[in-house]
Symmetry: C2
Subunit: 200 residues, 2 copies
């Protein structure tokens, strides 16, 4: 089986190049890796940006907890090892989407620098780290689902920002300060970044 697999690995090459895909799409591919605290607005911005990109003719797709944690990573728990493996798989899938010509937006807390750097290393030419930045106080005051309250009460172990660390990006490619910008202005900022970096 190993040998049979390795046959598949070398017999045929992709007959459509990345450049051909870019030309057909009218833009380069890329990975916008959103990172930030729970409640900072990662998923909201990713979904809103996906919509904006779609309307402007870009090929874009969001990877988030909904379509990854219930599927590809359904076998993983929340131990440090499983969290690292989850981020690794997302990095690999994001790379496949980028190879296929997409602008892929990933919306996961991804609190550890080392995990994010490993994701970057999988696809260094595509990777853009986007820090969706709101202070803990802001995120906690939003507390849409009451999770911070539960975490403060000790009912949720290892909650990022409360009882587990969030390691801020040291040199994010883009910072979106959602404590000072509404969704529309935040998406404007993201869209300008995409046009600057990924337009042909």
């Amino acid at each position: 089986m190993l040998a049979a697999k390795s046959t598949n690995i070398t017999v045929a090459e992709h007959a459509v190049t990345r450049d051909e895909r870019w030309l057909a799409n009218g833009h380069k591919s890329g990975i916008l890796w959103f990172t930030g605290l729970s409640g900072a607005g990662k998923s909201t911005l990713a979904m809103a940006l996906e919509r904006r990109l779609f309307e402007r003719g870009y090929r874009a797709y969001v990877l988030d907890g909904d379509n990854v944690r219930h599927g590809l990573s359904a076998d993983l728990g929340f131990s440090p090892e499983d969290r690292a493996e989850n981020i690794r798989r997302i990095g690999e899938v994001a790379n496949l989407f980028a190879q296929a010509g997409f602008i892929v937006l990933t919306a996961f807390i991804s609190p550890y620098r080392a995990d994010r750097e490993r994701a970057r290393a999988i696809a260094p030419d595509f990777f853009h780290e986007v820090h969706v930045k709101a202070g803990l106080a802001t995120c906690e005051s939003r507390d849409v689902k009451g999770l911070y309250a539960k975490a403060r009460a000790g009912k949720i172990p290892e909650f990022t920002g409360i009882s587990a660390p969030y390691e801020e990006p040291l040199a994010a490619d883009l910072v979106v300060p959602t404590d000072r910008m509404d969704v529309t202005r935040s998406v404007d900022l993201l869209m300008a970044y995409v046009e600057r970096k990924l337009a042909l």
Copy 2:
């Protein structure tokens, strides 16, 4: 962390629907799951079909050993459990690509019916089983990389068709008899299937 993840899971919904993607692309999405013996022509046909689809304006992408076994499944070996997990992950990734509007072509031996049925169950509306069918004698006589010779000599354990089973599809959605058809005619057959099933 569990709770933080589940926040992401429910906060935001995809703002671009599948139907909108289909309309923009001009075709439905789907998974063409190529299965067959080593040497039957899975990768060759998948790559040739990807090219044909691209030239006709379809969004298509091949998942094969090259981009999966070296990346997403790089942590997996070739034990029965690892092989099943490899096929599961490919099924999940294929589903993500289909959700994003693609026609995804998967080129793996995938010798076990149960594994293929699990892949179908992940995305039943998208899944099309394509049996790339050539007899063992034909595949063995092609033996592009000399793997069958090695397997016969006992140098490769668990080689599908020789020392490990290949469970033929019982009711494939499409059969491509590559022992009687050349690549061009085979791709014609596949293209006609795609146009019949996935055109809008």
